[in-house]
């Protein structure tokens, strides 16, 4: 079963608290710094990273805070080295992470594939920018395919979280470390330039963690036990196939247990807008106005991009509705929306690539256009 995250409910509770005169624990932070501090709260033992805009605040913040906490910070010589430093620290059982932006994450794909093959937990933050190539430094959601399809070579998946506010980014970091440890795999937090750069009030606190399996596989020195080996090469006949089936079993479990999505106003909606991350914020702005205009429109916001909330979207498509997917790309998640709906309802797309950010008005216009179509 899926769990719905209701951030607005949490916020309202916080506001009630404020009204009742309790101390306001919020601090104003940009997404990059907030995610870094949250990783520290989550018990991240080591951070390895290489400078790239628009995530430089993470690296700078960690360079100051990790040593203060007696933990490890290394500025690596490349993203390739960073992800392999993560691999090394993770192999010894430490909680570890790296962060980068699109071109840097491309370089990390080798390491991510090895992490998946060696069944090692790690958290990778991608503060996406425009591409392909060097692209630009403006916000983008162009790496959805790369993140949700594995990204590197081989038959594997990564868990992908797509937060849409600085607070959710904070919450996702702690969740990401737990998920990585629980399923022994890399977890990607997929943010974008806006989320990384924008400031919002956040509450930084340690959430109750999950009960996690012990890391008896970790390389800690073969003291009083047989040697431990962390590997991803399986040459014997059938051995790699067995590993792949094992991973697949884990992935199926994740698809069953870990889907997170938020929805609003879907019950009576003629139009359902699907968006994640910063696009979902823009959509929410547009939907609020459209509702005031009397348009029956709701939204679904996937929080986990893999596992994808296919069931929730499919369920919403049981009644004939128009689905509009909005992304900061020329259409990537829309393919998952179409797969989920399997032709039951029409799916249309609106997006802008290359660092272009759709405005509330643009999305609103699109919604209005769809209303006319529906009447016809």
């Amino acid at each position: 079963m899926s769990t719905a995250v209701n951030t607005s409910k949490k916020k309202n509770e916080a506001q009630k608290q404020k009204a009742s005169g309790e101390t306001d624990h919020r601090i104003l932070m940009c997404g990059n710094e907030a995610l870094a501090e949250s990783a520290i709260i989550a018990g991240c033992d080591a951070y390895f990273g290489y400078p790239i805009t628009p995530q430089n605040e993470v690296t700078a913040y960690m360079s100051k805070r990790m040593p203060e906490e007696g933990r490890v910070f290394v500025q690596s010589e490349s993203e390739l080295a960073a992800i392999n430093m993560v691999f090394g620290a993770s192999a010894t059982g430490k909680r570890t992470m790296t962060s980068s932006s699109s071109p840097g994450v491309s370089l990390m794909q080798e390491g991510i594939s090895y992490l998946a093959g060696a069944e090692l937990p790690a958290v990778i933050v991608n503060v996406m920018r425009g591409g392909p190539g060097l692209g630009n430094i403006a916000p983008s959601q162009g790496d959805y395919f790369q993140a949700t399809r594995g990204g590197g070579h081989g038959d594997y998946r990564t868990i992908v979280l797509g937060p849409s506010s600085v607070q959710e980014l904070v919450d996702c970091m702690q969740l990401a470390f737990d998920l990585a440890d629980q399923y022994q795999m890399p977890v990607i937090v997929l943010a974008d330039g806006i989320l990384g750069q924008m400031m919002e009030p956040v509450v930084l606190e340690k959430k109750p963690g999950r009960k996690l399996p012990s890391k008896d596989w970790a390389l800690t020195g073969a003291k009083g036990r047989q040697q431990n080996i962390v590997r991803s090469l399986w040459l014997a006949e059938g051995a790699l196939e067995r590993l792949n089936y094992k991973l697949q079993g884990r992935y199926e479990q994740i698809q069953k247990d870990e889907v997170l999505c938020e929805q609003y106003g879907v019950e009576d909606a003629d139009i359902v807008v699907v968006a994640y991350g910063i696009a979902a914020r823009i959509v929410r702005g547009a939907v609020t106005i459209a509702r005031e205009e009397g348009i029956k429109v709701g939204w679904i916001r996937p929080v986990t991009l893999w596992p994808f909330p296919s069931e929730q979207i499919s369920k919403a498509a049981d009644e004939l509705r128009i689905f509009l997917t909005v992304e900061l790309s020329m259409g990537q998640m829309v393919e998952d929306v179409k797969l989920a709906i399997s032709g039951k309802s029409p799916v249309v797309f609106y997006g802008r690539p290359g660092g272009g950010v759709p405005t509330v008005d643009e999305v609103l216009d699109k919604i209005r256009q769809l209303t006319t179509k529906r009447k016809i």
Partner: protein, 244 residues
């Protein structure tokens, strides 16, 4: 009867997959003996490369990890920084260390990572079928230099140890060879010293380059291969302590 030779405990009692006359078996034994003699079996973590020694963990009985091609020094950095009390070594071939992993070894040395590197130089890619390595000798015939390596076409053999010795972050670099019993004993001494430095917490990277025979892809008999190291390879890769 007096026992003249025993297997050192950290060297597993299994046949290896290496070709007849290959130097990896000797280098593995020297490594295992060092670990046992220094009594660090329980706190050593080894890193296997991509190359012929990829299955090193099948032979060396300590905690081990197998990593992407050339990335061992980065992995070692992640391990040592988070586990300063552990003894971390990487075991890398010439393709792994001097070609695809040139950046990683340079920067691990540059940062002065407190790790020990065993660099096996056999002047050729073994696992993939005898292609040219950065350390391949001039005129040496390989699968990808069918007419022999030329400096004009493929550049000169890369002397990585000399290069690394210029970095303030490296504390000990020695080039040894497996070409004779005497040289093998020197190699053992060097490997042991490199580990001792790490155990003492000396501030920087220690590296032992080992000129090692590959009779299969040198297209020689094992005996000729040993001779070739002593007569030809050492001209380009002179033996001795380069630093420390």
């Amino acid at each position: 009867m007096k026992t003249a030779f025993t297997r050192t405990p950290t060297y597993k009692d299994v046949p290896t997959h290496y070709c007849p006359g290959c130097g990896h078996g000797i280098a593995h034994r020297l490594l295992a003996e060092t670990i046992d003699e220094l009594d660090i079996h329980e706190r050593t973590i080894g890193i296997a490369p991509v190359g012929c020694a990829v299955l090193e963990y099948d032979y060396i009985d300590v905690d081990m990890v197998e990593v992407a091609h050339g990335r061992a020094p980065a992995v070692a950095t992640g391990m040592k920084r988070t586990n300063p009390d552990k003894i971390i070594f990487s075991y890398q071939g010439d393709g792994d260390l001097a070609s695809i992993g040139a950046g990683e070894i340079l920067h691990a040395g540059h940062r002065g990572e407190q790790i020990t590197v065993i660099f096996i130089n056999n002047a050729v890619y073994g696992m993939t079928g005898g292609q040219m390595a950065p350390t391949t000798m001039i005129n040496q015939v390989t699968a990808t230099t069918p007419k022999g390596r030329t400096s004009a076409g493929q550049g000169y053999p890369l002397q990585v140890s000399e290069l690394l010795a210029t970095l303030p972050g490296t504390i000990y670099i020695e080039r040894c060879a497996l070409s004779s019993p005497a040289e093998i004993r020197k190699t053992k001494k060097a490997i042991k010293h490199a580990f001792e430095l790490q155990i003492e917490g000396s501030p920087g990277m220690s590296l032992v380059e080992v000129l090692s025979p590959c009779p299969t892809y040198w297209r020689m008999s094992p005996v000729d291969a040993m001779k070739w190291i002593g007569e030809e390879m050492v001209k380009v890769f002179p033996l001795g302590r380069l630093k420390g």
